[in-house]
Amino acid sequence: MLIVIVFIITVGAFYLIHLLPGDPAVVILGTGASPVNRAKLYAQFGLNKPILEQYFVWIRNVVHGNLGTSFITQTSVWSTVRAALPIDVEIIVLSQILAFAVAIPTAMRSARKPDGWLDRILSAGSFTLLSIPSFVIIVLLVLFVAIKLGVPHTGVSSYVSLSSDWITNLESLTLPAFTLAVGSYVVYYRVLRSDLIATLQEEFITMARSKGISQRRIMWRHAFRPSSVALLGTAGVNIGGLLASGFIVQYLLSIPGLGYTLITSIGQSDYLVVQGIVLVVSVGVILINFAFDFIINIVDPRISRE
Protein backbone atom coordinates (compact mmCIF):
# COMPACT_ATOMS: atom_id res chain seq x y z
CA MET A 1 0.00 0.00 0.00
CA LEU A 2 2.68 2.44 1.10
CA ILE A 3 4.80 1.56 -1.92
CA VAL A 4 1.91 2.09 -4.35
CA ILE A 5 1.17 5.51 -2.91
CA VAL A 6 4.83 6.55 -2.98
CA PHE A 7 5.05 5.38 -6.60
CA ILE A 8 2.05 7.50 -7.58
CA ILE A 9 3.63 10.47 -5.83
CA THR A 10 6.90 10.08 -7.71
CA VAL A 11 5.02 9.96 -11.00
CA GLY A 12 3.11 13.09 -10.01
CA ALA A 13 6.22 14.95 -8.86
CA PHE A 14 8.06 13.98 -12.03
CA TYR A 15 5.24 14.91 -14.36
CA LEU A 16 4.76 18.21 -12.52
CA ILE A 17 7.92 19.51 -14.15
CA HIS A 18 6.52 18.76 -17.59
CA LEU A 19 3.28 20.50 -16.78
CA LEU A 20 5.02 23.71 -15.75
CA PRO A 21 5.41 26.39 -18.41
CA GLY A 22 8.90 27.45 -19.36
CA ASP A 23 11.95 25.76 -20.80
CA PRO A 24 15.11 24.86 -18.87
CA ALA A 25 17.16 25.82 -21.88
CA VAL A 26 15.73 29.32 -21.74
CA VAL A 27 16.32 29.53 -17.99
CA ILE A 28 19.97 28.50 -18.33
CA LEU A 29 20.98 29.95 -21.66
CA GLY A 30 18.68 32.94 -21.83
CA THR A 31 16.15 33.82 -24.49
CA GLY A 32 18.72 34.57 -27.19
CA ALA A 33 20.31 31.10 -27.36
CA SER A 34 20.66 29.42 -30.75
CA PRO A 35 18.68 26.24 -31.54
CA VAL A 36 21.94 24.31 -31.81
CA ASN A 37 23.00 25.26 -28.31
CA ARG A 38 19.56 24.45 -27.00
CA ALA A 39 19.68 21.00 -28.61
CA LYS A 40 23.10 20.45 -27.06
CA LEU A 41 21.74 21.34 -23.66
CA TYR A 42 18.79 19.01 -24.19
CA ALA A 43 21.15 16.17 -25.00
CA GLN A 44 23.36 17.01 -22.00
CA PHE A 45 20.43 16.75 -19.57
CA GLY A 46 18.77 13.85 -21.37
CA LEU A 47 15.73 15.92 -22.17
CA ASN A 48 15.61 14.58 -25.75
CA LYS A 49 14.88 11.05 -24.53
CA PRO A 50 11.35 9.58 -24.29
CA ILE A 51 9.53 10.69 -21.16
CA LEU A 52 9.27 7.16 -19.75
CA GLU A 53 13.02 6.73 -19.98
CA GLN A 54 13.52 10.13 -18.38
CA TYR A 55 11.33 8.97 -15.48
CA PHE A 56 13.37 5.81 -14.92
CA VAL A 57 16.64 7.69 -15.01
CA TRP A 58 15.22 10.21 -12.57
CA ILE A 59 13.70 7.67 -10.18
CA ARG A 60 16.96 5.70 -10.06
CA ASN A 61 18.77 8.85 -9.04
CA VAL A 62 16.09 9.74 -6.48
CA VAL A 63 16.39 6.30 -4.88
CA HIS A 64 20.12 6.93 -4.55
CA GLY A 65 19.48 10.26 -2.87
CA ASN A 66 20.21 12.34 -5.94
CA LEU A 67 17.47 14.86 -6.61
CA GLY A 68 19.47 16.63 -9.28
CA THR A 69 21.33 19.92 -9.37
CA SER A 70 19.59 23.26 -9.45
CA PHE A 71 19.86 25.04 -12.81
CA ILE A 72 19.94 28.33 -10.94
CA THR A 73 22.26 27.90 -7.98
CA GLN A 74 24.26 24.93 -9.30
CA THR A 75 23.99 23.28 -5.89
CA SER A 76 22.52 19.83 -5.30
CA VAL A 77 18.80 19.85 -4.60
CA TRP A 78 19.27 17.26 -1.87
CA SER A 79 21.64 19.53 0.09
CA THR A 80 19.11 22.38 -0.18
CA VAL A 81 16.33 20.11 1.12
CA ARG A 82 18.56 18.77 3.85
CA ALA A 83 19.37 22.23 5.08
CA ALA A 84 15.70 23.28 5.19
CA LEU A 85 13.92 20.12 6.39
CA PRO A 86 15.20 20.14 10.01
CA ILE A 87 13.67 23.59 10.45
CA ASP A 88 10.24 22.32 9.43
CA VAL A 89 10.61 19.29 11.66
CA GLU A 90 11.64 21.43 14.61
CA ILE A 91 8.81 23.93 14.17
CA ILE A 92 6.27 21.14 13.84
CA VAL A 93 7.58 19.17 16.81
CA LEU A 94 7.61 22.30 19.00
CA SER A 95 4.14 23.35 17.88
CA GLN A 96 2.69 19.88 18.48
CA ILE A 97 4.21 19.61 21.95
CA LEU A 98 2.66 22.98 22.78
CA ALA A 99 -0.71 22.12 21.21
CA PHE A 100 -1.03 18.74 22.96
CA ALA A 101 0.23 20.07 26.27
CA VAL A 102 -2.59 22.59 26.33
CA ALA A 103 -5.31 20.70 24.43
CA ILE A 104 -5.29 17.50 26.51
CA PRO A 105 -5.72 19.05 29.98
CA THR A 106 -8.26 21.63 28.79
CA ALA A 107 -10.32 19.01 26.93
CA MET A 108 -10.27 16.85 30.07
CA ARG A 109 -11.50 19.78 32.12
CA SER A 110 -14.22 20.63 29.64
CA ALA A 111 -15.46 17.06 29.33
CA ARG A 112 -15.77 16.58 33.08
CA LYS A 113 -18.56 19.12 33.15
CA PRO A 114 -19.86 19.72 29.64
CA ASP A 115 -21.70 23.03 29.42
CA GLY A 116 -20.27 24.06 32.77
CA TRP A 117 -18.81 27.58 33.00
CA LEU A 118 -15.25 26.40 32.34
CA ASP A 119 -16.33 24.38 29.32
CA ARG A 120 -18.25 27.35 27.94
CA ILE A 121 -15.24 29.63 28.29
CA LEU A 122 -12.84 27.12 26.75
CA SER A 123 -15.19 26.29 23.89
CA ALA A 124 -15.89 29.93 23.13
CA GLY A 125 -12.15 30.62 23.24
CA SER A 126 -11.42 27.78 20.86
CA PHE A 127 -14.01 29.05 18.41
CA THR A 128 -12.48 32.50 18.53
CA LEU A 129 -9.03 31.11 17.77
CA LEU A 130 -10.49 28.92 15.06
CA SER A 131 -11.86 31.94 13.27
CA ILE A 132 -8.54 33.82 13.18
CA PRO A 133 -6.40 32.85 10.17
CA SER A 134 -2.76 32.01 10.86
CA PHE A 135 -1.41 35.02 8.98
CA VAL A 136 -3.39 37.33 11.25
CA ILE A 137 -2.11 35.48 14.30
CA ILE A 138 1.46 35.94 13.06
CA VAL A 139 1.04 39.65 12.57
CA LEU A 140 -0.51 40.02 16.01
CA LEU A 141 2.25 37.93 17.59
CA VAL A 142 4.98 39.92 15.86
CA LEU A 143 3.35 43.11 17.06
CA PHE A 144 2.79 42.11 20.67
CA VAL A 145 5.43 39.49 21.41
CA ALA A 146 8.34 40.52 19.21
CA ILE A 147 7.96 44.27 19.10
CA LYS A 148 6.13 45.27 22.29
CA LEU A 149 7.62 42.61 24.60
CA GLY A 150 10.94 42.65 22.80
CA VAL A 151 11.32 38.88 22.50
CA PRO A 152 14.15 38.56 19.99
CA HIS A 153 13.14 37.18 16.68
CA THR A 154 15.51 36.45 13.84
CA GLY A 155 14.73 35.95 10.22
CA VAL A 156 16.39 34.23 7.33
CA SER A 157 19.56 36.29 7.44
CA SER A 158 20.52 35.44 11.01
CA TYR A 159 18.93 32.02 11.45
CA VAL A 160 21.15 29.59 13.35
CA SER A 161 20.72 25.85 13.64
CA LEU A 162 19.71 24.04 16.79
CA SER A 163 23.10 22.43 17.20
CA SER A 164 25.16 25.60 16.91
CA ASP A 165 23.23 27.88 19.28
CA TRP A 166 20.09 26.38 20.69
CA ILE A 167 18.94 29.47 22.59
CA THR A 168 18.99 31.71 19.54
CA ASN A 169 17.51 28.91 17.50
CA LEU A 170 14.59 28.42 19.89
CA GLU A 171 14.05 32.16 20.05
CA SER A 172 13.69 32.41 16.32
CA LEU A 173 11.38 29.40 16.13
CA THR A 174 9.13 30.37 19.02
CA LEU A 175 6.81 32.55 16.97
CA PRO A 176 6.29 30.14 14.06
CA ALA A 177 5.86 27.19 16.44
CA PHE A 178 3.42 29.14 18.54
CA THR A 179 1.41 30.18 15.50
CA LEU A 180 1.08 26.62 14.25
CA ALA A 181 0.31 25.44 17.79
CA VAL A 182 -2.72 27.75 17.99
CA GLY A 183 -4.37 26.19 14.95
CA SER A 184 -3.54 22.66 16.08
CA TYR A 185 -4.70 23.31 19.62
CA VAL A 186 -8.20 24.30 18.52
CA VAL A 187 -8.64 21.15 16.46
CA TYR A 188 -7.20 18.82 19.08
CA TYR A 189 -9.19 20.39 21.90
CA ARG A 190 -12.49 20.05 20.06
CA VAL A 191 -11.90 16.49 18.82
CA LEU A 192 -10.73 15.21 22.20
CA ARG A 193 -13.44 17.04 24.13
CA SER A 194 -16.30 15.54 22.13
CA ASP A 195 -14.81 12.03 22.21
CA LEU A 196 -14.25 12.28 25.96
CA ILE A 197 -17.83 13.37 26.52
CA ALA A 198 -19.03 10.35 24.53
CA THR A 199 -16.67 7.98 26.35
CA LEU A 200 -17.77 9.25 29.75
CA GLN A 201 -21.31 8.05 28.95
CA GLU A 202 -20.04 4.50 28.52
CA GLU A 203 -20.94 1.77 30.93
CA PHE A 204 -17.30 0.92 31.64
CA ILE A 205 -16.85 4.40 33.08
CA THR A 206 -19.71 3.75 35.51
CA MET A 207 -18.02 0.48 36.35
CA ALA A 208 -14.71 2.26 36.95
CA ARG A 209 -16.58 4.73 39.15
CA SER A 210 -18.09 1.82 41.11
CA LYS A 211 -14.58 0.75 42.08
CA GLY A 212 -14.26 3.88 44.19
CA ILE A 213 -11.29 5.31 42.31
CA SER A 214 -10.70 9.04 41.93
CA GLN A 215 -12.20 11.16 39.20
CA ARG A 216 -8.70 12.00 38.08
CA ARG A 217 -7.84 8.35 37.65
CA ILE A 218 -11.08 7.68 35.78
CA MET A 219 -10.28 10.49 33.36
CA TRP A 220 -6.64 9.56 32.72
CA ARG A 221 -6.65 5.79 33.06
CA HIS A 222 -10.09 4.90 31.75
CA ALA A 223 -11.46 7.67 29.54
CA PHE A 224 -8.39 9.14 27.84
CA ARG A 225 -7.07 6.19 25.88
CA PRO A 226 -10.34 5.04 24.28
CA SER A 227 -11.07 8.70 23.45
CA SER A 228 -7.79 9.39 21.70
CA VAL A 229 -8.27 7.51 18.43
CA ALA A 230 -9.88 10.39 16.55
CA LEU A 231 -7.35 12.75 18.14
CA LEU A 232 -4.43 10.73 16.77
CA GLY A 233 -6.03 10.40 13.35
CA THR A 234 -6.62 14.14 13.25
CA ALA A 235 -3.08 14.83 14.42
CA GLY A 236 -1.68 12.68 11.60
CA VAL A 237 -3.61 14.59 8.98
CA ASN A 238 -2.91 17.94 10.65
CA ILE A 239 0.85 17.42 10.97
CA GLY A 240 1.00 16.37 7.33
CA GLY A 241 -0.92 19.53 6.53
CA LEU A 242 1.50 21.66 8.54
CA LEU A 243 4.44 20.23 6.61
CA ALA A 244 2.70 21.11 3.36
CA SER A 245 1.24 24.47 4.36
CA GLY A 246 3.92 25.76 6.73
CA PHE A 247 5.06 28.12 3.98
CA ILE A 248 2.66 30.88 5.08
CA VAL A 249 4.24 31.12 8.50
CA GLN A 250 7.76 30.61 7.19
CA TYR A 251 7.37 33.17 4.47
CA LEU A 252 5.90 35.82 6.75
CA LEU A 253 8.55 35.28 9.42
CA SER A 254 11.45 34.65 7.02
CA ILE A 255 12.27 31.22 8.43
CA PRO A 256 14.33 29.32 5.83
CA GLY A 257 12.41 26.03 6.03
CA LEU A 258 11.07 23.94 3.17
CA GLY A 259 8.06 26.18 2.66
CA TYR A 260 10.15 29.32 2.40
CA THR A 261 12.57 27.61 0.03
CA LEU A 262 9.65 26.37 -2.05
CA ILE A 263 8.21 29.86 -2.48
CA THR A 264 11.55 31.41 -3.43
CA SER A 265 12.30 28.54 -5.83
CA ILE A 266 8.94 28.98 -7.54
CA GLY A 267 9.72 32.68 -7.92
CA GLN A 268 13.04 31.83 -9.56
CA SER A 269 11.58 29.04 -11.73
CA ASP A 270 14.01 26.68 -10.00
CA TYR A 271 11.98 23.64 -11.02
CA LEU A 272 14.22 20.90 -9.74
CA VAL A 273 14.18 22.36 -6.24
CA VAL A 274 10.38 22.67 -6.43
CA GLN A 275 10.19 19.08 -7.58
CA GLY A 276 12.51 17.87 -4.82
CA ILE A 277 10.56 19.67 -2.12
CA VAL A 278 7.21 18.46 -3.44
CA LEU A 279 8.52 14.90 -3.45
CA VAL A 280 10.02 15.07 0.04
CA VAL A 281 6.94 16.77 1.53
CA SER A 282 4.54 14.30 -0.11
CA VAL A 283 6.46 11.28 1.07
CA GLY A 284 6.73 12.90 4.50
CA VAL A 285 2.96 13.39 4.70
CA ILE A 286 2.37 9.76 3.76
CA LEU A 287 4.91 8.48 6.27
CA ILE A 288 3.44 10.62 9.05
CA ASN A 289 -0.04 9.28 8.38
CA PHE A 290 1.17 5.71 8.29
CA ALA A 291 3.01 6.25 11.54
CA PHE A 292 -0.14 7.58 13.19
CA ASP A 293 -2.18 4.66 11.86
CA PHE A 294 0.36 2.40 13.48
CA ILE A 295 0.13 4.25 16.81
CA ILE A 296 -3.68 4.10 16.69
CA ASN A 297 -3.54 0.32 16.34
CA ILE A 298 -1.49 0.11 19.49
CA VAL A 299 -3.62 2.56 21.44
CA ASP A 300 -6.89 0.85 20.57
CA PRO A 301 -6.52 -2.93 20.16
CA ARG A 302 -10.12 -3.12 18.87
CA ILE A 303 -9.08 -1.55 15.57
CA SER A 304 -6.45 -4.07 14.52
CA ARG A 305 -8.69 -6.94 15.59
CA GLU A 306 -11.53 -5.82 13.38
Binding site: E203, M207, S210, I213, H222, D300, R302
Partner: protein, 333 residues
Protein backbone atom coordinates in the same frame (compact mmCIF):
# COMPACT_ATOMS: atom_id res chain seq x y z
CA UNK B 1 -22.50 -9.39 64.55
CA UNK B 2 -25.61 -11.46 64.62
CA UNK B 3 -27.01 -13.21 61.63
CA UNK B 4 -30.06 -10.96 61.77
CA UNK B 5 -28.11 -7.70 61.52
CA UNK B 6 -29.54 -5.50 58.78
CA UNK B 7 -26.91 -4.82 56.18
CA UNK B 8 -29.10 -2.61 54.07
CA UNK B 9 -32.05 -0.46 55.11
CA UNK B 10 -33.83 1.45 52.33
CA UNK B 11 -36.57 3.95 53.26
CA UNK B 12 -38.84 5.91 50.90
CA UNK B 13 -36.15 5.97 48.25
CA UNK B 14 -37.15 7.98 45.20
CA UNK B 15 -35.09 8.81 42.13
CA UNK B 16 -36.31 11.47 39.74
CA UNK B 17 -34.53 12.38 36.52
CA UNK B 18 -34.90 15.85 35.10
CA UNK B 19 -35.46 15.29 31.42
CA UNK B 20 -36.22 17.79 28.68
CA UNK B 21 -39.79 16.44 28.72
CA UNK B 22 -40.19 16.94 32.47
CA UNK B 23 -39.46 15.03 35.67
CA UNK B 24 -39.24 11.24 35.24
CA UNK B 25 -39.97 9.24 38.40
CA UNK B 26 -37.78 6.19 37.79
CA UNK B 27 -38.03 5.04 41.40
CA UNK B 28 -40.99 6.29 43.43
CA UNK B 29 -40.77 5.61 47.16
CA UNK B 30 -39.22 2.23 47.80
CA UNK B 31 -38.62 0.75 51.26
CA UNK B 32 -37.14 -2.61 52.19
CA UNK B 33 -34.24 -4.09 54.08
CA UNK B 34 -31.78 -6.88 53.66
CA UNK B 35 -30.07 -9.11 56.20
CA UNK B 36 -26.50 -10.22 56.05
CA UNK B 37 -25.79 -13.30 53.96
CA UNK B 38 -29.20 -13.08 52.38
CA UNK B 39 -30.07 -12.96 48.70
CA UNK B 40 -32.79 -10.61 47.57
CA UNK B 41 -34.35 -10.87 44.15
CA UNK B 42 -35.81 -7.85 42.42
CA UNK B 43 -38.06 -8.73 39.49
CA UNK B 44 -40.06 -6.72 37.02
CA UNK B 45 -40.31 -5.95 33.34
CA UNK B 46 -37.78 -3.83 31.48
CA UNK B 47 -38.23 -0.22 32.47
CA UNK B 48 -39.64 -1.01 35.91
CA UNK B 49 -36.79 0.95 37.50
CA UNK B 50 -34.77 -2.00 38.73
CA UNK B 51 -31.43 -0.81 37.43
CA UNK B 52 -32.01 2.75 38.61
CA UNK B 53 -33.02 1.46 42.04
CA UNK B 54 -29.84 -0.58 42.26
CA UNK B 55 -27.64 2.30 41.23
CA UNK B 56 -29.39 4.71 43.57
CA UNK B 57 -28.90 2.33 46.49
CA UNK B 58 -25.21 2.35 45.68
CA UNK B 59 -25.22 6.10 45.07
CA UNK B 60 -24.00 5.46 41.53
CA UNK B 61 -26.73 7.40 39.73
CA UNK B 62 -25.59 10.07 37.23
CA UNK B 63 -24.27 13.16 38.96
CA UNK B 64 -26.39 15.72 37.18
CA UNK B 65 -30.07 16.17 36.43
CA UNK B 66 -31.19 13.71 39.04
CA UNK B 67 -32.86 14.07 42.45
CA UNK B 68 -32.70 11.39 45.10
CA UNK B 69 -34.75 11.47 48.28
CA UNK B 70 -35.30 9.06 51.14
CA UNK B 71 -32.62 7.08 52.89
CA UNK B 72 -30.26 4.22 52.20
CA UNK B 73 -28.30 2.91 55.18
CA UNK B 74 -25.61 0.60 53.90
CA UNK B 75 -23.83 -1.03 56.82
CA UNK B 76 -24.41 2.18 58.78
CA UNK B 77 -23.40 4.55 55.96
CA UNK B 78 -26.05 6.96 54.70
CA UNK B 79 -25.72 6.90 50.93
CA UNK B 80 -28.39 9.47 50.04
CA UNK B 81 -26.90 12.94 50.08
CA UNK B 82 -23.33 11.68 50.62
CA UNK B 83 -20.64 13.36 48.53
CA UNK B 84 -19.00 11.50 45.68
CA UNK B 85 -15.82 11.43 47.72
CA UNK B 86 -17.56 9.89 50.74
CA UNK B 87 -19.30 7.32 48.56
CA UNK B 88 -15.97 6.35 47.02
CA UNK B 89 -14.93 5.02 50.40
CA UNK B 90 -17.67 2.35 50.31
CA UNK B 91 -17.63 1.65 46.58
CA UNK B 92 -15.70 -1.47 45.76
CA UNK B 93 -15.01 -2.36 49.37
CA UNK B 94 -18.44 -2.37 51.04
CA UNK B 95 -20.61 -2.68 47.98
CA UNK B 96 -19.78 -3.69 44.43
CA UNK B 97 -21.78 -4.17 41.28
CA UNK B 98 -21.89 -6.81 38.60
CA UNK B 99 -23.05 -4.94 35.54
CA UNK B 100 -25.66 -6.09 33.10
CA UNK B 101 -23.81 -6.26 29.82
CA UNK B 102 -20.23 -7.56 29.92
CA UNK B 103 -19.77 -6.34 26.34
CA UNK B 104 -19.90 -2.72 27.50
CA UNK B 105 -18.94 -2.79 31.16
CA UNK B 106 -15.26 -3.63 30.70
CA UNK B 107 -12.82 -1.03 29.43
CA UNK B 108 -12.08 -2.20 25.86
CA UNK B 109 -8.55 -0.79 25.77
CA UNK B 110 -7.34 -1.97 29.18
CA UNK B 111 -5.95 -5.44 29.79
CA UNK B 112 -8.32 -7.36 32.03
CA UNK B 113 -5.65 -8.02 34.64
CA UNK B 114 -5.20 -4.28 35.08
CA UNK B 115 -8.94 -3.83 35.51
CA UNK B 116 -9.01 -6.34 38.35
CA UNK B 117 -5.74 -5.09 39.83
CA UNK B 118 -6.95 -1.55 40.02
CA UNK B 119 -9.11 -1.94 43.10
CA UNK B 120 -6.40 -3.98 44.83
CA UNK B 121 -3.68 -1.44 44.13
CA UNK B 122 -5.55 1.82 44.45
CA UNK B 123 -8.05 0.94 47.16
CA UNK B 124 -6.24 -1.73 49.14
CA UNK B 125 -2.73 -0.36 48.60
CA UNK B 126 -1.24 -3.67 47.47
CA UNK B 127 2.03 -3.58 45.57
CA UNK B 128 2.20 -4.69 41.97
CA UNK B 129 3.19 -8.26 42.72
CA UNK B 130 0.69 -8.92 45.49
CA UNK B 131 -2.09 -7.39 43.39
CA UNK B 132 -1.24 -9.55 40.42
CA UNK B 133 -1.11 -12.67 42.56
CA UNK B 134 -4.51 -11.84 44.04
CA UNK B 135 -5.96 -11.01 40.61
CA UNK B 136 -4.84 -14.40 39.32
CA UNK B 137 -6.52 -16.02 42.33
CA UNK B 138 -9.71 -14.16 41.56
CA UNK B 139 -9.62 -15.18 37.90
CA UNK B 140 -9.22 -18.76 39.02
CA UNK B 141 -12.02 -18.35 41.55
CA UNK B 142 -14.49 -17.23 38.88
CA UNK B 143 -13.53 -20.19 36.72
CA UNK B 144 -11.38 -18.65 34.04
CA UNK B 145 -9.02 -21.23 32.57
CA UNK B 146 -5.29 -20.39 32.38
CA UNK B 147 -5.56 -17.12 34.33
CA UNK B 148 -1.92 -16.19 33.73
CA UNK B 149 -2.63 -15.92 30.00
CA UNK B 150 -6.01 -14.26 30.37
CA UNK B 151 -4.54 -11.68 32.72
CA UNK B 152 -2.87 -10.00 29.77
CA UNK B 153 -5.67 -10.05 27.20
CA UNK B 154 -8.05 -7.28 26.23
CA UNK B 155 -11.79 -7.80 26.84
CA UNK B 156 -12.41 -8.13 23.09
CA UNK B 157 -10.45 -11.36 23.09
CA UNK B 158 -12.88 -13.06 25.48
CA UNK B 159 -16.38 -14.49 25.00
CA UNK B 160 -19.40 -12.90 26.70
CA UNK B 161 -19.49 -15.52 29.45
CA UNK B 162 -15.77 -15.09 30.14
CA UNK B 163 -16.14 -11.33 30.21
CA UNK B 164 -18.94 -11.59 32.74
CA UNK B 165 -16.68 -13.76 34.89
CA UNK B 166 -14.08 -11.01 34.68
CA UNK B 167 -16.69 -8.46 35.73
CA UNK B 168 -17.55 -10.66 38.70
CA UNK B 169 -13.87 -11.09 39.59
CA UNK B 170 -13.48 -7.29 39.49
CA UNK B 171 -16.50 -6.84 41.73
CA UNK B 172 -15.15 -9.38 44.20
CA UNK B 173 -11.65 -7.89 44.33
CA UNK B 174 -12.51 -5.58 47.21
CA UNK B 175 -14.30 -8.36 49.15
CA UNK B 176 -17.56 -6.39 49.38
CA UNK B 177 -20.24 -7.20 51.94
CA UNK B 178 -22.97 -6.49 49.45
CA UNK B 179 -22.92 -7.54 45.82
CA UNK B 180 -25.37 -5.92 43.44
CA UNK B 181 -26.01 -8.07 40.39
CA UNK B 182 -27.92 -6.17 37.72
CA UNK B 183 -29.40 -8.75 35.34
CA UNK B 184 -25.97 -10.39 35.18
CA UNK B 185 -27.01 -12.94 32.57
CA UNK B 186 -29.14 -10.95 30.14
CA UNK B 187 -26.61 -10.83 27.34
CA UNK B 188 -25.50 -14.44 27.65
CA UNK B 189 -26.44 -17.82 26.17
CA UNK B 190 -28.86 -19.90 28.21
CA UNK B 191 -26.26 -22.51 29.17
CA UNK B 192 -23.84 -19.79 30.26
CA UNK B 193 -26.62 -18.04 32.22
CA UNK B 194 -26.98 -20.98 34.60
CA UNK B 195 -23.20 -21.19 35.03
CA UNK B 196 -22.91 -17.53 35.95
CA UNK B 197 -25.86 -17.68 38.38
CA UNK B 198 -24.48 -20.80 40.05
CA UNK B 199 -21.10 -19.13 40.29
CA UNK B 200 -22.64 -16.10 42.00
CA UNK B 201 -24.42 -18.38 44.44
CA UNK B 202 -21.25 -20.28 45.31
CA UNK B 203 -19.25 -17.11 45.72
CA UNK B 204 -21.93 -15.62 47.96
CA UNK B 205 -21.54 -18.55 50.35
CA UNK B 206 -17.78 -18.61 50.08
CA UNK B 207 -17.26 -14.89 50.63
CA UNK B 208 -20.14 -14.42 53.07
CA UNK B 209 -21.78 -11.68 51.03
CA UNK B 210 -25.32 -10.45 50.74
CA UNK B 211 -26.57 -10.33 47.19
CA UNK B 212 -29.21 -8.26 45.45
CA UNK B 213 -30.09 -10.05 42.23
CA UNK B 214 -32.04 -8.07 39.69
CA UNK B 215 -33.76 -9.94 36.90
CA UNK B 216 -36.82 -9.96 34.70
CA UNK B 217 -36.89 -13.75 34.88
CA UNK B 218 -38.79 -15.20 37.82
CA UNK B 219 -37.27 -18.60 37.14
CA UNK B 220 -33.89 -17.16 38.08
CA UNK B 221 -34.96 -15.92 41.51
CA UNK B 222 -37.14 -18.92 42.41
CA UNK B 223 -34.35 -21.12 43.70
CA UNK B 224 -31.62 -18.61 44.36
CA UNK B 225 -33.20 -15.99 46.61
CA UNK B 226 -34.76 -15.90 50.04
CA UNK B 227 -36.68 -12.64 49.50
CA UNK B 228 -38.37 -11.23 46.43
CA UNK B 229 -39.40 -7.71 45.49
CA UNK B 230 -41.73 -7.31 42.53
CA UNK B 231 -41.39 -3.87 40.95
CA UNK B 232 -43.72 -2.10 38.58
CA UNK B 233 -43.30 1.45 37.25
CA UNK B 234 -40.71 2.35 39.86
CA UNK B 235 -42.61 1.04 42.87
CA UNK B 236 -42.76 -2.16 44.88
CA UNK B 237 -46.07 -3.87 44.19
CA UNK B 238 -45.42 -7.04 46.15
CA UNK B 239 -42.66 -8.39 48.33
CA UNK B 240 -42.02 -11.17 50.77
CA UNK B 241 -40.15 -14.41 51.20
CA UNK B 242 -39.59 -16.16 47.90
CA UNK B 243 -41.70 -19.10 49.03
CA UNK B 244 -44.64 -16.89 50.01
CA UNK B 245 -44.58 -14.79 46.90
CA UNK B 246 -44.52 -17.82 44.65
CA UNK B 247 -47.17 -19.73 46.58
CA UNK B 248 -49.53 -17.02 47.79
CA UNK B 249 -48.98 -13.91 45.70
CA UNK B 250 -51.84 -11.45 45.88
CA UNK B 251 -50.98 -8.87 43.27
CA UNK B 252 -52.34 -9.62 39.76
CA UNK B 253 -49.10 -8.30 38.26
CA UNK B 254 -47.07 -10.94 40.11
CA UNK B 255 -49.37 -13.60 38.77
CA UNK B 256 -49.04 -12.21 35.28
CA UNK B 257 -45.24 -12.38 35.57
CA UNK B 258 -45.43 -15.97 36.82
CA UNK B 259 -47.71 -16.98 33.99
CA UNK B 260 -45.36 -15.29 31.59
CA UNK B 261 -42.35 -17.40 32.54
CA UNK B 262 -41.79 -20.87 31.11
CA UNK B 263 -41.99 -23.81 33.50
CA UNK B 264 -40.48 -27.25 33.10
CA UNK B 265 -43.65 -28.83 34.56
CA UNK B 266 -45.79 -27.50 31.72
CA UNK B 267 -46.43 -29.80 28.76
CA UNK B 268 -44.39 -28.77 25.74
CA UNK B 269 -45.84 -26.12 23.40
CA UNK B 270 -47.81 -24.55 26.28
CA UNK B 271 -48.47 -20.95 25.30
CA UNK B 272 -46.91 -18.39 27.62
CA UNK B 273 -49.30 -15.69 28.70
CA UNK B 274 -48.04 -12.30 27.67
CA UNK B 275 -49.17 -9.33 29.73
CA UNK B 276 -51.32 -7.15 27.48
CA UNK B 277 -50.24 -3.55 26.91
CA UNK B 278 -46.97 -1.93 27.85
CA UNK B 279 -45.44 -0.60 31.06
CA UNK B 280 -46.61 2.99 31.63
CA UNK B 281 -44.67 6.04 30.57
CA UNK B 282 -42.78 7.15 33.67
CA UNK B 283 -43.04 10.77 32.57
CA UNK B 284 -46.79 10.54 32.85
CA UNK B 285 -47.84 7.95 35.40
CA UNK B 286 -51.53 7.12 35.75
CA UNK B 287 -53.21 8.63 38.78
CA UNK B 288 -54.20 5.41 40.53
CA UNK B 289 -52.48 2.03 40.42
CA UNK B 290 -49.90 2.11 37.61
CA UNK B 291 -50.82 -1.41 36.59
CA UNK B 292 -54.57 -0.64 36.31
CA UNK B 293 -54.58 -0.03 32.54
CA UNK B 294 -53.27 -3.56 31.94
CA UNK B 295 -55.08 -5.35 34.77
CA UNK B 296 -58.19 -7.43 34.13
CA UNK B 297 -59.34 -6.88 37.75
CA UNK B 298 -59.07 -3.11 37.64
CA UNK B 299 -62.00 -1.06 38.98
CA UNK B 300 -62.68 2.68 39.10
CA UNK B 301 -60.97 2.84 42.47
CA UNK B 302 -57.80 1.36 40.96
CA UNK B 303 -57.81 4.09 38.34
CA UNK B 304 -58.35 6.90 40.86
CA UNK B 305 -56.44 5.96 44.01
CA UNK B 306 -53.03 4.43 44.34
CA UNK B 307 -52.94 1.38 46.66
CA UNK B 308 -50.24 1.35 49.36
CA UNK B 309 -48.42 -1.78 50.47
CA UNK B 310 -50.49 -3.77 52.98
CA UNK B 311 -49.72 -6.91 54.94
CA UNK B 312 -50.67 -10.31 53.61
CA UNK B 313 -51.11 -13.30 55.88
CA UNK B 314 -47.49 -14.31 56.24
CA UNK B 315 -45.09 -11.98 58.13
CA UNK B 316 -43.05 -9.78 55.84
CA UNK B 317 -45.30 -10.43 52.85
CA UNK B 318 -46.87 -7.21 51.56
CA UNK B 319 -48.66 -6.20 48.40
CA UNK B 320 -50.22 -3.11 46.88
CA UNK B 321 -53.61 -3.88 45.36
CA UNK B 322 -57.25 -2.88 45.86
CA UNK B 323 -58.56 -6.14 44.41
CA UNK B 324 -56.00 -8.74 45.46
CA UNK B 325 -56.19 -12.31 44.34
CA UNK B 326 -57.88 -14.57 46.91
CA UNK B 327 -55.54 -16.12 49.46
CA UNK B 328 -56.09 -19.62 48.19
CA UNK B 329 -54.99 -18.74 44.68
CA UNK B 330 -51.69 -20.37 43.98
CA UNK B 331 -49.47 -20.99 41.05
CA UNK B 332 -46.66 -23.41 41.61
CA UNK B 333 -43.20 -22.25 40.80
Amino acid sequence: MSQEQKLLVVKDLATTFHTPSGPLAAVGGVSFDLNQNETLGIVGESGAGKTVLLRTIMGLQPRTNVDVSGSVLLDGFEVVGASEKAKRSIWGLEVAMVFQDPMTSLNPVMRIGKQIDEILRVRLGMDRRAAKARALELLELVGIPSPAVRYNVFPGELSGGMRQRVVIATALAGSPKLLMADEPTTGLDVTIQAQILNLLEELKEQMKMSVVLVTHDLGVVATRTSQIIVMYAGRIVEMGSTREVFAHHRMPYTRALLEGSPKVSNPSHTRLLAIPGRPPNLLNLPKGCSFAPRCSFATDRCRQERPELENANAPGHTFACWNPLPVTQSVSA
